[in-house]
Amino acid sequence: MSPSLGLRVRDWGLEILQTAFRLLPWPTEPGLRSIGTPDESSPVLLTCNYALTVRRLVATLEGCDAWLVVAPTAGINVWCAAAGGHMSTHQIVSALKTSGVAERVRHRDVILPQLAATGVLALEVFRRCRWRVRFGPVSASDLPAYLASGEKTDAMRRIRFSLRDRLEMAASWAAPTALVVGGGALFIRPEWALPLMGLVVAMAVLVFNVYDRLGPRRKTTFALGASVAALAVTWLAGGAAAALATAAIAACFVSALLTYDYTGSTPIEGGSHFEERRWTIAFDLERCDGIFRCWEVCPEACFEKLESERKVALAHDDRCIRCGACIVQCPQDALFFEDEAGARIEPDVIRKYKLNLLGRRSIDAH
């Protein structure tokens, strides 16, 4: 039965609101949901309790029969929750034990989003509650094909940053920033509120569509470009010296704000803000026994299989975004973070304290 007009309007309203403010947690009720008419042999999927993710996942799976376990992850999306410790082995074990899914199926196989690999130890989940974890595709849109074929293609393994993703991230940064900037302007120069909000939106769209393509000095380039553009627009509009200066300062401020923590909003390594980013991924070939878990969970396809030797090669470490998924999943502890002087952060420390460079950034204490 198709949903009523009222429900569809409500869903669209929520979709717009939660996309615009997706940097906030949007919790939905954890627990077990049925998709279609699942039975005791249907696949079990598990995801976060971020409302936007759950709603889109349910829509994507229309026509499939599956059980969906929604884990309590503080209303945060999969990658952020996994990197920050809100979607860890604990939450997965708890959800599998308390949701009642074990009474609904005969098997004990659960499919998690690949990006959860940063925080969830698959082997530990099995040890603690006897459920076997498989990491499915990165993107929910690939799930129907994955469920139908049982195969995860190379494309399903890689993270994409499509135009739609870029525009969504732009909206999520622009909406709250425009509200703050526009609201502040209302108290000082009300006639500037709308132009400033427009400037914020335009720059957010530019940041997420141009910024990562500008090369290593992208922040400076972008701030200068934005300032010059703001000055030009103000001058062409007949602005006075004070207005020109204000536009330039506003442009610098907004571009710095929007590009400050760019890495946290995209799968692209920003590079220069934190001393900790001197840490890079390192690999002990001797320890590798060719299980290929790193290859399986790397969202940037940094690894290549050397089938004949039962080993992997860290062939594309330049792509590494240091999410730590490979380190967390390797049962042989063959991967770790290392700095230029050779100091290591061992896998157990990374697993315990979520010291991936998308999540926790403080490493000095450990």
């Binding site: 009720e29 077990l32 503080a74 308390t98 400050y260 923590d261 803000h273 304290y353």
Partner: protein, 216 residues
Amino acid sequence: MSSLALMRWLEGRPERYDAGMRVLTCGRIARLHAAVAEAAVRSAGDHVLEIGCGTGTVTTLLHARGAHVTAIDQAPEMLEQARLRLPDDESIVWIEQTAAEIDRLPPSRFDAVVLCLCLSDMSPNERAFVLREAVLRLAPGGRVVAADEVRPNGWRGWLQRLWRIPQAALGWLLVGSLSRPIRDLAGELQAVGLRVSGAGTWLLGTLELVVGEREP
């Protein structure tokens, strides 16, 4: 606020947790903790299971009253803070695990199970599971001591709804928690077969302590 700033703020959560809770409860938290410890330990030597021990504030009070405490929490950072509070002592066992894994602990072992401000962090499914399993861990005549944020009736409930908006934002920033008030704490304890007695309320009835006794 940049997501980086938010993350950095939350990284120090365990160190900030106690101060954050004092702010969020207008200083009433200390009285609640004392009442929980008093209700849980009836005589020195009691065995107490504390679920969600956090930074060990209640653990310290239980220990001071002479209890043997098994304290569990899923956050390693919280357990580290808790260990700093209390010296190595064989009367305290620290376990890093989820509340849902208390089914791995021996049955009929404890004189009391303490759940202080952790049930409201759980989903309804988790709460039902944990309370069922908690009852099975109790020795005959043992008790569940549950203290948490609840939703009072009438005007206090409406006042709480208004206060929840800034409080939820503050709670997220200070302690990284998105707890939700429990509608009927006593009812949830009764639903698992416990005989319930209310033991106190604070902050206009929004914090409640309930003791549920297992039949001897």
